[in-house]
């Protein structure tokens, strides 16, 4: 049964990713500035060179044709060539993916750890002073622009991943704090407390199972948040990851690169959310 579920999920994932790729390509294709090249403004270029530059993007104007050719290339391991980097995209991804994965992994791990550690006492201590302090701390980081966070970490010599952690943890804190507080106030938890169960037992046996579906959904969501945060932070910190690639591609309307980045982001988002959905379903089935 699980095999069938898994296969169905993978097929849905692939179809959705492909759909995401073509939708992303459509957004880029019809965005202003598509097909223009700032090299056209070089006063040294002759007229025929300017016209050649303008024609160089003509094979991307027909979106279906472009996407069909792209998919054909993907089947042979060819992800296309980036205009803005003048290099094969497969090579660019191979170099930069590990950097982004490290950044996102560190950001996620740190964000969840810090978020949970801060949220848990807020739900168990029940003192407004702690709650106020924790909320203020998370509020400070929520209000800081990514650029400032990134520059602060550079000043302090910290890793780029921690800057992503600073972006992730306030969101994780807000959601988990509210979830835990809400769950702690539920009747069955009050009953358990009245019956003298220890805090740990109440948390593990009565809080976590109730909050688990939403926490798991949040896990999937936090991957998207971390990936989204990695883009501006990599740009500001000049970290050579996928985020920097995506930004450069967006500024220069580099369609082949943008399609690949969109597919990558879509796949990561889908995999993370599917994993959290499947885990949540498995948990519910086990309880019932």
């Amino acid at each position: 049964m699980w095999t069938r579920v898994l296969i169905r999920r993978i097929c849905t994932l692939l179809v959705t990713a492909l759909l995401g790729g073509i939708l992303g390509a459509t957004l880029v294709r019809f965005a202003p500035g598509f097909g223009v090249d700032e090299r056209e403004l070089d006063t040294r270029l002759r007229e025929d060179s300017v016209q050649a530059l303008r024609r160089s993007h003509s094979n991307e104007r027909n979106l279906l044709k472009f996407y069909g050719a792209y998919l054909g290339g993907v089947l042979h391991g060819d992800l296309g060539v980036s205009h803005s980097f003048a290099r094969p995209i497969a090579g660019l991804f191979a170099e930069r993916l590990p950097v982004t994965l490290r950044t996102v992994a560190l950001g996620l791990a740190g964000g969840w750890l810090f978020g949970i550690l801060l949220a848990l006492p807020a739900a168990t201590i029940w003192w407004w002073g702690y709650d106020l302090s924790a909320c203020t701390l998370s509020g400070i980081f929520l209000c800081l622009p990514s650029a400032v966070v990134a520059i602060l970490f550079l000043y302090l010599g910290g890793p780029v991943g921690l800057a992503v952690c600073v972006v992730v943890f306030p969101r994780v804190f807000q959601y988990t704090r509210n979830l835990f507080l809400h769950t702690f106030a539920l009747p069955h938890v009050l009953t358990a407390r009245a019956k003298g169960l220890t805090g740990t037992r109440i948390f593990l046996w009565h809080i976590v199972p109730v909050a688990a579906p939403q926490l798991l959904a949040l896990t999937g969501l936090s991957v998207s948040i971390a990936l989204g945060a990695a883009i501006p932070i990599e740009v500001i910190c000049d970290s050579p990851g996928i985020g920097q690639l995506a930004w450069q591609a967006a500024l220069s309307r580099d369609l082949p690169l943008l399609v690949n980045v969109t597919l990558f982001v879509t796949l990561v988002t889908l995999i993370a959310n599917s994993a959290s959905d499947l885990t949540s379903t498995a948990l519910v089935k086990r309880e019932s």
Binding site: W126, W128, Y155
Partner: protein, 268 residues
């Protein structure tokens, strides 16, 4: 705690009134350039000093509050309502509808919506008033910002689908819409409040970041976002620490929102 909540409410009221009466409270028009005194320190005539073009920062902060303090929460509310509607309905109904909606949500989270924003800006006439352009930007942010928390709302709604009070409400003959509105969504308040609280500063900062691409507020209209962009130049901030005033104000406003929202389970 009640005192703190009153203080927070009072603070938000003061900001609201200040934005309404900015025209009276501001010592100078927000666009007026005192070109003889750029980057001036705080003084009697310029309470928060001036910016690089000699514009009074206190006036710009007041007028910027009009934009950000009103539009960002409105956009956040719009995103929250959409997340509640889409996620709540999908989770409550379940089945293939839930799967399709969640797939669309995942897609919405992955697509480069930046290009949609650029396209909208391109469609707008160049002579559209700055406030008009900003309204459209915040509205789009609200319309695009629901996807992330819709997932969490959906998971919550799914888990409540088979709970006793929902079954009881259905047994009493309540319509699905009524059950969703009166029984499911109120139990998802923690998620929705978290969504709202995180969206307000995120939208303000997003508006600032979109300025790099030509979206967001245009000169000379100020916003908290455009004022916050000024603190990205760290050497300027070190030399003029009062430039952190918009950040402090944003932080106080977000904290105040947090404090006035109902806090479940906290002993006061």
């Amino acid at each position: 705690m009640k005192t703190i909540r009153r203080v927070a409410s009072g603070f938000l009221s003061i900001i609201f009134l200040a934005t309404l009466f900015a025209g009276i409270l501001a010592p100078a028009p927000y666009a007026k350039q005192f070109r003889e005194s750029p980057n001036a320190s705080p003084s009697r005539s310029h309470l928060l000093g001036t910016d690089e073009l000699g514009r009074d920062l206190f006036s710009r902060l007041l007028y910027g509050s009009r934009v950000s303090f009103l539009l960002a929460p409105a956009a956040a509310l719009l995103a929250t309502i959409m997340a509640a509607s889409v996620g709540g309905a999908a989770g409550y109904i379940g089945g293939w509808i839930e799967r399709i909606v969640m797939t669309c949500t995942d897609l919405a989270m992955s697509l480069p919506w930046l290009f949609l924003l650029l396209t909208v800006r391109a469609i707008l006439p160049l002579n559209v008033p700055p406030l008009g352009s900003l309204l459209i930007t915040f509205m789009l942010l609200g319309l695009l910002g629901w996807a992330a928390s819709a997932r969490v709302v959906c998971a919550g709604a799914r888990s409540l689908r088979s709970s006793d009070f929902v079954l009881q409400a259905m047994a009493c003959g309540s319509t699905p819409f009524r059950v969703l509105l009166r029984h499911v969504l109120p139990n998802l308040r923690p998620i929705l409040f978290a969504q709202f609280l995180t969206s307000v500063p995120v939208f303000i900062l997003t508006e600032a970041n979109l300025g790099v691409l030509g979206l967001g507020v245009s000169e000379p209209l100020p916003s908290w976002g455009s004022l916050l962009r000024g603190i990205e130049n760290w050497s300027t901030v070190q030399a003029n620490p009062w430039r952190l005033a918009p950040l402090v104000l944003l932080l106080l406003a977000v904290s105040s929102f947090q404090l006035i929202l109902p806090r479940e389970g906290v002993v006061e």
